[in-house]
């Protein structure tokens, strides 16, 4: 699992019940905007992620609808397991981080 993928999973696991849109996930993962869609698509394809369009009227709100992502119930468990068993764990790549994202 690549570092980027692990960072995205970690960001999603930090807010397991919240819905986040692409820019928020990029920001939470510390990745450049526009780089995470392939990762999100892979997890969505695997059933780990669920996505939906924001329920707003773009004309009234004056902005386009956002696409929100959230970990599926078993996706969260699978994501945790994947992070724990990653060949090059994030904790080794980024010393000082614990699994839940807090300082060690």
């Amino acid at each position: 699992m690549t570092l980027q993928t692990q960072l995205v999973l970690r960001a999603l696991l930090e807010h397991p019940t919240s819905e986040l849109y692409g820019l928020q996930i990029s920001q939470a993962a510390g990745l450049a905007t526009g780089t995470i869609h392939p990762i999100l698509a892979r997890f969505e394809g695997l059933g780990w992620l669920e996505s939906r369009w924001e329920q707003i009227d773009p004309i009234i709100e004056g902005r386009p609808r956002r696409r929100y992502y959230r970990l599926s119930p078993d996706g969260a468990a699978k994501a945790r397991h994947a992070l724990e068993t990653a060949r090059t764990p994030l904790a080794r790549l980024l010393p000082g981080l614990t699994f839940d994202g807090g300082p060690r």
């Binding site: 849109y21 692409g22 820019l23 450049a32 905007t33 526009g34 780089t35 869609h37 392939p38 698509a41 892979r42 969505e44 394809g45 695997l46 369009w53 004056g62 902005r63 386009p64 609808r65 956002r66 696409r67």
Partner: protein, 238 residues
């Protein structure tokens, strides 16, 4: 005895945060300055009324009286600006700047008065406050510019800059969407547009173009992921 126009007595010699972005940060200083100016003007006015009766002095007393009224309004305006909304409007801030200009004029007059009448024993007692008056002028200047800057930023924020996405970035994201499988094209185009719109509000056009370039760069990877997911779905169905 403390001079009646002692800047330090009112605590206005604290740092005035010349780069204060929000008017709320300078509110206490406006209060201090207006209080000190009002008190100073009142003291001098009383002194002038009791003392010399020459036309120049009467004229100065009248001027001070006018400024006193204006400075009283500073407090009213300042209170009005603070109470109803966290960020005052530009018009309110401009009004405060206007009254601060009066405060500066008053301080200058008091300073001149001290200088020209320094030999008068009645005035001599107050001459020591001249440096404080100069400091008050300087602080009023800094306050005025801080308020103007804060108000300008507030206006820009409140007005909500019209969000216009970079045309180049838009073309790039449409190009990226075109690379994707037809079934997912409209969904991702909408998603990219939404993200670009969010970025446009806070980022430069260059950052938007970079966003578009990154999407375009990864569009082929995204396409592969989407095709793989589609194949997996079809396999499961079979």
């Amino acid at each position: 005895m403390r001079p009646p126009f002692d800047v330090h007595a009112h605590g206005t010699d604290r740092n005035l945060a010349p780069h204060a972005a929000q008017i709320s940060e300078v509110d206490p200083h406006i209060d201090s300055l207006s209080t000190l100016a009002i008190e100073g003007a009142a003291n001098l006015k009383r002194m002038l009324e009791l003392g010399d009766d020459r036309p120049t002095i009467r004229y100065l007393a009248r001027q001070l009286s006018d400024h006193l009224s204006a400075l009283n309004e500073v407090k009213v305006t300042n209170g009005f600006a603070r109470t109803p909304a966290p960020d005052p409007t530009l018009a309110q801030a401009r009004e405060i700047v206007h009254f601060l200009a009066d405060a500066r004029a008053l301080a200058k007059k008091i300073d001149d008065f001290h200088y020209f009448y320094r030999d008068n024993p009645k005035v001599a007692a107050f001459f020591a406050v001249s440096p404080s008056v100069k400091r008050a002028c300087h602080k009023a200047d800094r306050l005025a510019s801080a308020i103007a800057r804060g108000a300008q930023r507030t206006r820009l924020t409140n007005a909500g800059r019209p969000v216009t996405s970079s045309a180049v970035a838009l073309r790039l994201i449409y190009g990226a969407a075109r690379i994707l499988p037809a079934a997912s094209r409209s969904r991702y185009q909408g998603e990219f547009e939404s993200e670009l719109h969010e970025l446009s509000a806070v980022s430069s056009r260059w950052a938007q173009v970079m966003f578009g370039l990154r999407l375009l760069d990864r569009a082929w990877i995204l396409r592969a992921e989407l095709q793989r997911a589609s194949r997996q779905k079809n396999t499961v169905r079979l």
